[in-house]
């Protein structure tokens, strides 16, 4: 209703200013009547849904803690039922709830429980079968099975939630598979290899987020993927720069360029995740560079003053960008 009255008020203003004519308005109105409206249900995450997800997470932790505390006393059947059984049951309950518009939002919480409890159930099965369930090979099997089942669910039910879980299980498979392939070979230092993979996954998440932002049905997911993508990308690039004696000059020099590219993207995509994380990591970079290069020569107090001023400048820049480019009229 607010949109309707605002639109009418805007038309009155335009008429007063003689910016549009009656004929133009009628033409626009008639052409609108002829178009078929694409009904796209857009769900934005509200407080209630956040609470549902929190509740789902707490239920999973309850199951995990129950298992952890009584691992030696519980039989395999009990462990299996508590994990895999509750995972399957939650999936079915989620499907039943998703059939009714009134309970659809609650179904997401049950799908979350299912997505967390089912892999734990598979872990219990592999552990009982005598495999090293923590090994990367078994992690590949679990994440691959979860990815397959969620892609199948997505193909059948076409729910956005299954896209999120498919991509998250895909990311788990990516990390596990690459770790399994490398095994114990010291190709390069493990944490660096991990950071390069986070960099790749972050870039992938940002691109997926951008692709979703262009699709009305998937648009609500873009913020989630932007946030995780930008965070992973900038955190990994910062870590690759190293620290003191173990630093990498290439990444240290390239990093400011990456941050400004991310800030530029916040204007292009109008996504606040790029602006917030870009500003946060710009501040982190200022602190890192100050403590590495200026704390000994200038002394800590002066270095802190410079870092503080630079951070104020970064914060001011972020606010300016937000006001100028990210607020929609």
């Amino acid at each position: 209703m607010a949109t309707r009255s605002r639109a009418l008020q805007y038309i009155r203003t335009l008429a007063r200013q003689k910016t549009v004519t009656r004929d133009e308005l009628l033409k626009a109105f008639d052409s609108g009547l002829g178009e078929e409206l694409e009904e796209v249900p857009v769900h934005k995450l509200g407080v209630a849904e956040i609470l549902y997800y929190l509740g789902g997470g707490i239920v999973f932790f309850g199951i995990a803690i129950l298992l952890g505390q009584n691992w030696s006393t519980l039989s395999f059947e009990t462990k299996f039922l508590a994990t895999f059984g509750s995972g399957i049951a939650s999936y079915v309950v989620g499907l039943i709830f998703s059939r009714d518009a009134r309970t659809e939002s609650v179904s997401s919480a049950f799908h979350l429980i299912s997505a967390l409890a089912t892999p734990l159930g598979l872990w219990v099965v592999f552990d009982h079968a005598g495999f090293d369930a923590n090994s990367y090979g078994i992690q590949c099997l679990i994440s691959g099975a979860m990815l397959g089942s969620h892609l199948l669910s997505l193909a059948v039910f076409k729910k956005n939630l299954f896209i999120v879980f498919s991509i998250l299980f895909g990311a788990w498979l990516f990390f596990s598979l690459t770790s399994w392939m490398v095994g114990g070979a010291a190709l390069f230092r493990d944490w660096k290899f991990y950071m390069y993979r986070v960099l790749a996954a972050g870039t992938s998440f940002m691109l997926i987020g951008y692709a979703f932002s262009k699709n009305k049905r998937r648009a609500p997911l873009s913020g989630f993927f932007y946030s995780f993508g930008v965070f992973g990308f900038l955190a990994a690039a910062l870590a690759l720069g190293g620290w003191n004696h173990d630093k990498n000059v290439f990444w240290e020099l390239v990093y400011p360029g990456l941050i400004f590219a991310i800030l530029f993207l916040s204007v292009h995509t109008k996504a606040k995740a790029f602006l917030y994380w870009g500003t946060f990591f710009l501040m982190a970079y200022i602190l890192k560079i100050t403590s590495e290069h200026f704390s000994t020569g200038l002394g800590w107090p002066l270095a802190l003053v410079i870092a503080g001023l630079a951070m104020i400048a970064a914060g001011y820049m972020a606010l300016s960008i937000k006001k100028k480019y990210l607020y929609s009229e």
């Binding site: 070979a185 190709l187 493990d190 993979r197 992938s204 692709a211």
Partner: protein, 173 residues
């Protein structure tokens, strides 16, 4: 074609991890097809073998010699008498145990690196469920042959332990 053009960002986004998997696979498995180390090596196995000083076996004038070890007082060093000698056939990635008398006939190069530029290194082991990563540790008894971009896991007859239980004695010329 229209689908690809319309979803190019999504396709590129999904392709990045797949390309990285292919890159990792290529960098691990491809060198094995083209690079073939030539020199086999003699190694000894035994409990905590890396920290021996002096050691039971050493190489003098390209020949294996057995040293006399006096048990040091006050130290609970394990007995070196149960050390065993093995030859690793690098091409077949197999090991076989040999006697001291057989080993004495071998012409050995005791340097760390083989004449064709390879060395035996420890593997590493990391744990964790993504996104949680725990710093990796050395896996002392999971040896690799490393050099010229090759990282080949070796099947040595080593018992799993947190101690280093194998020691390369020399490359067989």
């Amino acid at each position: 074609m229209g689908f690809i053009k319309k979803n190019i960002t999504l396709i590129v986004g999904i392709s990045i991890p797949i390309l990285m998997i292919l890159f990792v696979a290529a960098s691990i498995y491809l060198p094995g097809f083209f690079i073939h180390p030539k020199y086999n090596f003699l190694y000894a196995t035994g409990y905590d073998i890396a920290s021996c000083s002096p050691c039971l076996y050493s190489v003098e004038n390209h020949k294996l010699v057995r040293n006399t070890i006096n048990p040091s007082k006050g130290k609970s060093r394990p007995d070196q008498g149960d050390w065993r000698l093995h030859i690793c056939d690098v091409a077949k990635n197999e090991s076989k145990e040999i006697s001291f008398e057989e080993a004495r006939k071998l012409d050995l190069d005791p340097r760390q690196r083989s004449p064709d530029g390879f060395e035996v290194t420890y593997g590493s082991r990391s744990d964790g469920f993504p996104p949680f990563f725990f710093e990796s540790t050395w896996d002392y008894n999971n040896p690799y042959l490393k050099g010229h971009n090759l990282n080949k896991r070796l099947n040595l007859q080593v018992s799993p332990s947190y101690r280093v239980n194998f020691r390369v004695i020399g490359w067989i010329k």
